[in-house]
Symmetry: C2
Subunit: 375 residues, 2 copies
């Protein structure tokens, strides 16, 4: 049985080239995890996801506990078999999504009582129940149950919320069923307040986790505030454990966070944008709805190897988006995930070669070039 481990192969400044070993195979870091909310990376087959180089995907406890239910997924052999994904799966704890998606939430020390947004049914989510659900799903990496305060919030409220999350982290650790190759990650909170982040990091280290996430960022604060919060947090996290910046983000967020020592990322942006006609490219982001693409025979991105770029023109993608064809969502999602995976591969190569700084300069210079003019 494979043990869960994290090894750092190289560093470049604060950035690390690393490798996770898990019950479901290895993952090179820094890594971007496509979001598979309800048991599917939206508009992609698992084969397509894997073809982009993605090796780990995310699942959402909140969505899956409501439909099809964790118990049903367990009876069907776990989330890997259910969704046809053999690699590692990280599941969130449900805490964040209960607070942002569910109706009639009531927060107590015990946990969160809420109504399903699907059918109005009542549920109680606690650290213990969250661990049980993620275990039923057979998550490779389980996230501790936490609470994420809104931004902006009073510092006293952020502190109170963070300390509750730390108590919940301890309950999560106790309730988590230890298995070789499986891991439990704690989640650092504290908003944009360095002292709270440091206090949270100390509390998490005291409990002890296989990995440490930074939560409560990318919730509306300015880019610089996010970077400052990272600068005030990462140095307090154990250097020998993976660091995961939850819900981040844009390519420019990711490169900045990698340079600050973050190893793992997830975000709905590439998938959600793909369904609304937005394409990420190295030369900036394109809105494929825009009329300037409608006669453009060029591929979305000459350098990209995804099917959208290899076989189709911008004019065709523009047409599909306007005609609201499912293939438009499929191709742009595929492309966006490919762009994210290619970016992570470039970052890993650069860190390994000790030239991350040049890689970041190139990243920003290429984006500044902007899109080529339509022919």
């Amino acid at each position: 049985m494979r043990m869960f481990s994290f090894t750092v192969a190289a560093t470049d400044g604060a950035a690390r080239l690393g490798r996770l070993e898990t019950a479901h195979g290895p993952v090179e870091t820094p890594v971007f995890m496509p979001v598979g909310t309800a048991g599917t990376v939206k508009a992609m087959t698992p084969e397509a996801v894997a073809s982009t180089g993605a090796r780990i995907v995310l699942g959402n406890t909140y969505h899956l506990m409501l439909r099809p239910t964790a118990e049903r997924v367990a009876r069907l052999g776990g989330l890997h078999r259910f969704m046809g994904w053999d690699g590692p799966i990280l599941t969130d704890s449900g805490g964040y999504q209960v607070m942002s998606l569910a109706k009639l939430r009531t927060l107590t020390e015990e946990g969160v009582t809420f109504q399903s947004h699907i059918d109005g049914s009542r549920h109680l989510l606690t650290p213990e129940r969250s661990m049980e659900i993620q275990d039923l799903l057979d998550a490779t990496i389980t996230m501790a149950f936490d609470e994420c305060p809104p931004f902006p919030a009073e510092k006293a409220d952020v502190a109170q919320s963070m300390r509750r999350s730390m108590r919940w982290a301890e309950r999560s650790r106790r309730a988590f069923r230890e298995r070789p190759g499986y891991a439990l990650f704690g989640i650092n909170q504290g908003g944009i307040h360095p002292d709270l982040r440091e206090e949270s990091a100390a509390a998490l280290k005291e409990i002890g986790f296989e990995g440490y996430a930074v939560g409560g960022l990318a919730v509306g604060e300015p880019f610089e505030a996010m970077l400052a919060a990272l600068d005030g947090t990462v140095p307090h996290l154990p250097a020998d454990r993976p660091r995961y910046l939850m819900g981040v983000g844009r390519p420019e967020d990711i490169v900045a966070a990698v340079a600050r020592g973050i190893d793992m990322f997830d975000c709905v942006m590439p998938t959600r944008s793909g369904r609304t006609g937005k394409a990420f490219t190295r030369r900036g982001d394109l809105n494929m709805r825009n009329a300037r693409h409608r006669d453009d025979p060029r591929p979305l991105d000459e350098a990209c190897g995804c099917p959208a770029c290899r076989r189709f023109s911008r004019a065709y993608l523009h047409h599909l988006i306007h005609a609201e064809e499912i293939l438009g969502a499929m191709l742009l999602t595929w492309h966006n995930i490919q762009v994210y995976q290619d970016l992570m591969a470039d970052l890993r190569t650069a860190i390994g070669a000790g030239r991350l700084s040049a890689c970041l300069d190139d990243f920003h210079a290429t984006r500044a070039l902007g899109d080529l003019e339509p022919v």
Copy 2:
């Protein structure tokens, strides 16, 4: 340059095993053509379509002339390049869809004036303009411009409509730009009236076409009426040309029509049904929304080689349909097209071996078995 040709390799009763040679490659018949309405077989990549064994797809003049426009498709290199499909493409003439989809239609001897259902813009579609559009699209097989009366209709109205369609067929033939490997098909009309069908067939033969379609069926008449109309039509069509039954149909319609000498089919049923949760199987049709599938670990169809059946359970497909996930539409569409292509391959094999009758018996017996009970 390849010429357009049709050769019959074997017959079994009225059924024929044949082969079309076209500018875009060969097609074995009997053949089912997936419908690619607006330049895409909905929810499938061209690679996925080809993987099912499909060799020819259909495009819709009405949809494409309005968006992205035939002129734009031509500037972008034609429909094959635009949609990434290298094989033959058959386009309908727009006549049927103008009458069923457009607003404020005015029918005259000249053609049909109508308003776009997309933006209300006014257009005139005539035999000459339909030929021009299909030429701009670079259709491998062009359909003559015709009119399809509603069902039921007075016989006098059906006769009047059919005779107008025959005059339009002659104008279509004159306007069609002849090119090696490309073909123009005439469309037989006459509703359920054998004398009108025979009159129409004589008129079409007099003009001369590379293939002959049977139009105006599967528009609401009973199954037996459709078969009777075929029996009254097919014997009057040239034996050395392909015969195409437009817009048909269910698997049981197709096997019955193949036995009556039909070579080509198209229908939105497998693709449209796939988007609404209906799956075709050899043992009958399944509504994947049904609660009885929600704990069922079995594949949709043990005998099917499509990705939906190889990698996923009925429970997962049920979940995707309920969660309105795009992957549900993708997988069920893929499966349904695979089932249709497998059926056509079975029919071709059976005709070649002179055992079509046994194949049809097996087809009906297997469907009568019904679905296996859920475990």
